[in-house]
């Protein structure tokens, strides 16, 4: 395996450094990139499954998106800057997405990770 960025867990829990995962996320990221087009946002809202099928997502990927399982989307190679576009269609705060990935409730996440007084 070439390159310094394929080493697993060189820096814990940073999916950006996992090349296999990044490459595996191409479809899911392309689907989410589509949401910068207003027509696609309408299609996504009207029939989410059909929209996901259009981009050839497999069952695992579709389930992750349909259930808004952010941690799972990232595990499947979704890059946050793509999947954030889902939050433009179906609003959720980025700190909630963060908390979900960290496996914390929102308040604990704000306090323990971001140092907010909550």
């Amino acid at each position: 395996m070439g390159g310094p960025f394929t080493e697993p867990d060189r820096i814990p829990d940073t999916p950006l450094l996992d090349r296999e995962r990044q490459l595996g996320g191409y479809r899911i990221n392309k689907m989410a990139m589509g949401l910068v087009d207003p027509a696609n946002r309408e299609a996504f809202k009207a029939d989410e499954r059909a929209y996901l099928d259009r981009f050839g997502l497999n069952d695992e990927e579709k389930t992750a998106v349909l259930t808004r399982d952010w941690r799972e989307m990232v595990r499947l190679g979704g890059n946050l800057f793509f999947i954030l576009k889902i939050s433009a269609v179906d609003p959720i705060r980025i700190t909630e997405i963060g908390a979900h990935q960290a496996g914390m409730d929102h308040e604990t996440f704000l306090r323990d990770r971001l140092g907010k007084k909550v």
């Binding site: 390159g3 310094p4 960025f5 060189r10 820096i11 814990p12 829990d13 940073t14 999916p15 950006l16 450094l17 090349r19 990044q22 191409y26 990221n29 392309k30 990139m33 949401l35 910068v36 087009d37 207003p38 946002r41 990232v74 890059n79 946050l80 800057f81 793509f82 954030l84 576009k85 939050s87 433009a88 269609v89 980025i94 700190t95 997405i97 963060g98 908390a99 990935q101 960290a102 496996g103 996440f109 990770r113 971001l114 140092g115 907010k116």
Partner: protein, 280 residues
């Protein structure tokens, strides 16, 4: 010849633009953050730069993974705000400094850099937010022309920190060799510490951020020598975009004066920093 009047560093968190749009500027949550930029805005009013070279990254809004340039120079006449999912933001288009951008591209290629040459693209919050922070949102037109430099900080391999520092040095040469009376500023944007994805999401590192704001002025060669991994470890997966400040720093002289600086944490999920530097 053209003159580089200063280097500006700033975070470019999208929530900053959203906060302004929602009228949250003077809420207890945001007021201390925005107030930190007041001296910088005063500095801008005093120096009236004609051209801002803005070093930033597209966050997969105008570019997709099909083609990711290591870095790219915008030579267009105009840049419209891109639709990031909520529709394009209601801000004026940015006028490009096209003639200088071609001169920069020529200079880079002559100095063994390999830019992508851009003639048509839209720009996301990575450029918009810094412009609003330093210039304020104008009613009709921005009072300064822009040259966007897009850097890949998201699709590995991202460039080495010292490559970006060297890019900044050539940028400085290009400004100094540009036959014009215009005044230039260079903006390094992104960071400071944050991580948005993975189990380490929410990581911030305020002590490292404060040290960075000191070192970027006093010891940039040290920061340029860090590995990409060390940036990620220290500043988080997305905080590593801080390497873009090295382009701004490289354009300045070895010795600089810190005119203003500010730090605030967290802005959304990010350690947010600002600095205004002038050549000593």
């Amino acid at each position: 010849m053209a003159r580089l009047v200063g280097g500006l560093g700033t975070s470019h968190v999208p929530s900053i633009g959203a906060a302004l749009e929602k009228g949250l500027r003077d809420t207890p949550e945001w007021k201390p953050f925005f107030d930190g930029y007041l001296p910088a805005r005063q500095w801008i009013r005093e120096h009236q730069p004609d051209v801002a070279v803005v070093v930033f990254n597209d966050h997969f809004n105008a570019m997709f993974l099909d083609r990711v340039p290591t870095f790219a120079v915008g030579c267009a006449a105009e840049y419209l705000p891109v639709d990031e999912g909520w529709g394009p933001r209601a801000i004026p288009p940015f006028e490009g400094a096209s003639h200088f951008a071609w001169h920069l591209t020529d200079t880079l290629v002559e100095n063994h850099f390999d830019p992508e040459i851009i003639q048509e693209i839209k720009v996301d919050h990575g450029l918009q937010v810094p412009m609003e922070l330093f210039w304020g949102k104008p009613s009709d037109a921005w009072p300064v022309k822009v040259v966007p430099i897009f850097v890949n900080v998201l699709q590995y391999p991202i460039p080495l920190p010292d490559r970006l520092y060297a890019l900044g040095k050539v940028l400085g040469q290009a400004i100094e060799s540009y036959d014009s009376d215009e005044k230039f500023v260079v903006l390094g944007t992104g960071g400071l510490s944050h991580q948005l994805q993975g189990a380490r999401a929410g990581f911030v590192n305020p002590p490292a951020d404060r040290q960075f704001l000191k070192d970027i002025a006093e010891d940039p060669d040290e920061l340029a020598g860090w590995s990409r991994q060390r940036y990620i470890e220290t500043f988080g997966g997305e905080g590593a975009e801080l390497i873009m400040w090295l382009v701004m720093r490289g354009a300045l002289n070895r010795d600089v004066l810190v005119k203003h600086q500010h730090y605030f944490v967290p802005a959304s999920m990010t350690g947010a920093g600002m600095i205004v530097l002038e050549n000593a």
